[in-house]
Amino acid sequence: MAIIRKKGIFAGVKLPENKITEEEPVKRLPLPQKVIIPIQQNIGAPCQFIVKRGNEVKVGQKIAQSDKFVSAPIHSPVSGKVSKSTKLVNPATGALLDAITIDSDGQDQWVDLDSILKIEDIDSWEDALAEIDRIPPKKALEKIKEAGIVGLGGATFPTHVKLSPPPEKKIDTFILNGCECEPFITSDHRIMLEYGQHVLLGLQIIKKILNPSRLYVAIEDNKPDAIAHMNKLLEQMGLDEVDVVSLPSRYPMGAEKTLIKTILGRVVPMGGLPMDVGVVVNNVATSKAVAEAVLEGKPLIEKVVTVTGLFGEPQNLLARIGTPISALVSHCKLRERDQYHIILGGPMMGLPISDLQFPVNKGLNCVLIKEGYADDEQNCIKCARCIAACPMDLMPLKYPELVKNSAYSQCSEYYIANCIECGSCAFVCPAHIPIVGYIKTGKKKLAEK
């Protein structure tokens, strides 16, 4: 095991952690009466529905797909009947998304799964690992693709694409990302503690596909129990080639570029991908889904979601995809306030919604309800705290000024495209300027050009 204590490898900020649900075991949310499935649940090409109103569906049945490579099919999370097609507002873009509603029959009838073994029934790690070794990498990739797995850390990039780097990109390092650097969120933390075997089996499958020479499990040092548990499991399973790395808790440690820089000292070129420096990074929840897909044949139909903030009983819930957020919120007993933010994701990078009927989707790892405050933007005093905080070494203070003046092309001179929208700048800004909002506007306007 390696411990990296050195700070200052990237700037970033120290955040209040607020991990109030870190001790809460994952509980299964009762089956929803209906699910709402938006058509776009991944970065890349959107799917087309292949079921219509009135069709009967089973759990795990494919209901939407695309013939494009950069896409991931969607499966029914419940058994029942497609009852209507509807529209939802995409919180990331504000555009309308097609969606269908499936009424659950409460039977939870599954399609037949192409299962090799049940992870919970494994009694010999040697046998299970030998089983993984027998699966051809192509077949494993195909199963990952068919299971509709996308990056579950929130990026929702189709995993089979990430695991199929072009041949000229030699991958020498794979990093399993268990940093979970955003405040409040504990879903990955709980997954590492409660589904550690799944996560590490997934890691073995990914290793088989990518064949890297170095494997890391990256965890921030605010989760010593997860670090210890991962080390224990690796020992039990006899996986001594995997190195658990303990990292300082500093935001945004879990962002791919800062993580790679911290562990390997490599810098992903601007506009490039981790594979450009020989690295692939996947989230622990994604790895769990990979293990379930390849070994159990299970498509991605449920997610561990942290429901936290202003709740009487904040929890980590295993929820079916498509479950309306309202079901999670009422399950955890919301504490009423005058003004709320309802945030999908963490407090730093999450997206706001106003409609509690919005469903759990593949990228969702947290529902955070926080007390809201009114906007109170003041003049920039050029204190440069945003510059000191920016993990990408940008000059965030330039963007609000340029965007207000519609000087979008000048934003490019300040490398606006390299911004990862982590929110460190706005967090430290004494003038309370919503810098990330200006950056998002600037990027959007540049894309429209």
Binding site: K261, M270, G350, A384, M395, L397, N418, F427, P430
Partner: protein, 315 residues
């Protein structure tokens, strides 16, 4: 859950809460140290100047915001300007002149440019420069420290060619360090200014590069010119300028390298004015000159973002 209660706004939804007002009032706290020294050495009249200057700045800002129908924020910036101006005028400056200077600082140097964050020049120094133009005699009338006696004896400041010191060199440095010498109301006590500066540094309110490179440049150039570096550093307005005025966020560069260039420029101009200019002291004007260069420094010193490819500019 009531829909009207839901707020949609951009991420992040966490804020450190270290606001502009908190920063400014912490600077005010640090400024109270040299202000206390000013009152100690120059008596209650110094306190009167401070009150007049702060009140004028505050009320001017309030009135202008009202006239322009903009929201007035008690962010502390006007208080800093008022305090700073009071600390850099002679200790027996007529009150009405101080009021004129304070009004000019806020109304012209700050608000006419758009208010906090938009001003090009440091408002307090702009106000002092205005006073120097309007009242050239009164702005150079120095007295010996009176403590709380009423009678005042005129004197020359240490940087003046007429300056003579009756004691030994050690006593001279002791007086310069503690502030027992002629000069502006709050500039004489290097000790309390440095303590205030340490407070600013400890609270991470200012970047160390500006005071260190500014003072360092003055010391080095003075040495090269065959002067006593320590005397040059402890005399005049250098200490208060380096810690409290050149470090003003709005009027100094935002990047670390920019701050170094800015500070070295300040040092060079200060030494040039002190040695070759018509004035005895050059801190205020050197800061005004470098303030004017700040936008240019910021324009040409862009940071290189992480992962920027070393690409030759083809076109």
């Amino acid at each position: 859950m009531d829909k009207n209660k839901i707020i949609i706004s951009h991420s992040p939804y966490l804020w450190k809460g270290f606001s502009t007002a908190k920063i400014m009032y912490l600077v005010v706290l640090a400024l109270l140290l040299p202000a206390a020294a000013g009152i100690y050495f120059f008596g209650l009249y110094a306190l009167l100047i401070i009150i007049a200057s702060v009140a004028t700045c505050f009320l001017t800002e309030l009135a202008i915001k009202k006239l322009r129908k903009k929201r007035f924020r008690n962010d502390g910036s006007a208080v800093i300007t008022g305090l700073l101006l009071a600390l850099i005028v002679p200790p027996r400056m007529p009150i009405w002149m101080v009021v004129v200077g304070a009004f000019f600082s806020i109304a012209v140097v700050k608000e006419a440019f758009g208010g906090l964050g938009h001003n090009i020049f440091n408002p307090a120094i702009g106000g002092r420069a205005f006073l120097a133009i309007c009242f050239p005699t009164q702005i150079t009338e120095w007295i010996e420290p009176t403590y709380f006696r009423l009678d005042a004896v005129t004197t020359a400041t240490p940087l003046s060619p007429d300056f003579t010191y009756p004691g030994t060199q050690a006593e001279l440095y002791r007086d310069l360090f503690f502030g027992n010498t002629g000069g502006s109301l709050g500039e004489t006590s290097a000790l309390l200014i440095i303590l205030g500066g340490i407070l600013l540094l400890a609270l991470r309110l200012i970047d160390w590069r500006i005071p260190i490179f500014y003072i360092g440049t003055v010391a080095l150039l003075s040495l090269l010119l065959g002067q006593q570096p320590l005397f040059q550093v402890l005399s005049g307005g250098l200490m208060i300028g380096a810690f409290f005025m050149a470090t003003d966020y709005v009027t100094s560069p935002v990047t670390r390298n920019g701050k170094i260039i800015f500070a070295v420029g300040l040092g060079i101009i200060t030494v040039l004015i002190r040695n070759f200019g018509a004035l005895d002291e050059g801190v205020a004007f050197s800061i005004l000159i470098m303030n004017a260069f700040t936008p240019l420094i910021d324009k040409y010193l862009k940071l290189k973002t992480l992962g920027l490819q070393k690409k030759k500019e083809a076109s």
